[in-house]
Amino acid sequence: MTWKKLLIPLASVPVILLLAYGFRTDPKAIPSPLVQKLAPDFRLQAFDGGEVSLADLKGKPLVLNFWASWCYPACYEEAPLLEATWKRYKDQGLMMVGVDIQDKEANAREFLQRFGFTFPNAPDPGSKVSIDYGVYGVPETYFIDRQGRIAYKHVGALTPALMEAQVQSLLKGT
């Protein structure tokens, strides 16, 4: 009758396994199904009047950043890094596009002026592009390779180390 004594520890094994699986995953990290897939196309009217579209940027590595003027402090923290990275790498063929989501135009323009953004930025009417990219909060940044595939998605403010590593890997890619 020793098997009866083993019954309780044995019954707890699946429970422990289930908990081990559950506690190892971060419930706040929502993996994007778009990573390693082709980035959805977009065509937006930029704040400066021009048009930005993914199709026009084909063959160039792209940093696509979603932001909003009400996104404080994360968007304010990473904004100088975005502009600095753009200035540093644009001559090597890097492209950068900012998409402003659910914002008031005046506030958005103030944000652009405050950080002196020189890369194209565009509002996203109806949040169509944001939903197409599976954005659920700002800031979110997509690193898109020369083939138009999403190589990496970052949620939250970018750090210089992460930006550098991702941009280098995009530029290296053929």
């Binding site: 199904p33 659910q102 109806g126 949040s127 939903i131 599976g134 659920y136 909060g137």
Partner: protein, 132 residues
Amino acid sequence: MRAATNFDLEDRVREIASELRCVVCQNLSVADSPSDLAKEMRNLVREQVQQGKNREEIQAYFVSRYGEYVLLSPPKRGFNLLVWGLPFLAIAVGGGAVYLVVRRWTEQAPAKRPAIDPAYAERVQRELKDRE
């Protein structure tokens, strides 16, 4: 006629949106959330319904963008089956255990009564007789 069509459309949009998770909320569906993003998602659902897309196609679009996380009910396959199956399995196993325990109680009750020591029984009989 026009009003009836709109009513049907809004009903359909609500039905589909109620199964989608509002990704910026805590446990709210796209149909119930007052957030801007949920409103835009409802507009998108409406647009797709008007394009003649069915519930599965619209769900597939949102899943391709946000992953299965966007569905409020996890689909019944793979690892998710645990969520759907475990409660019923637990009820079955628990019910079986209760049945076995109860059966043992009712069966073993008479058997467990201690046998009477024959010497003691004889003494009781004798003393009862003496009293008469």
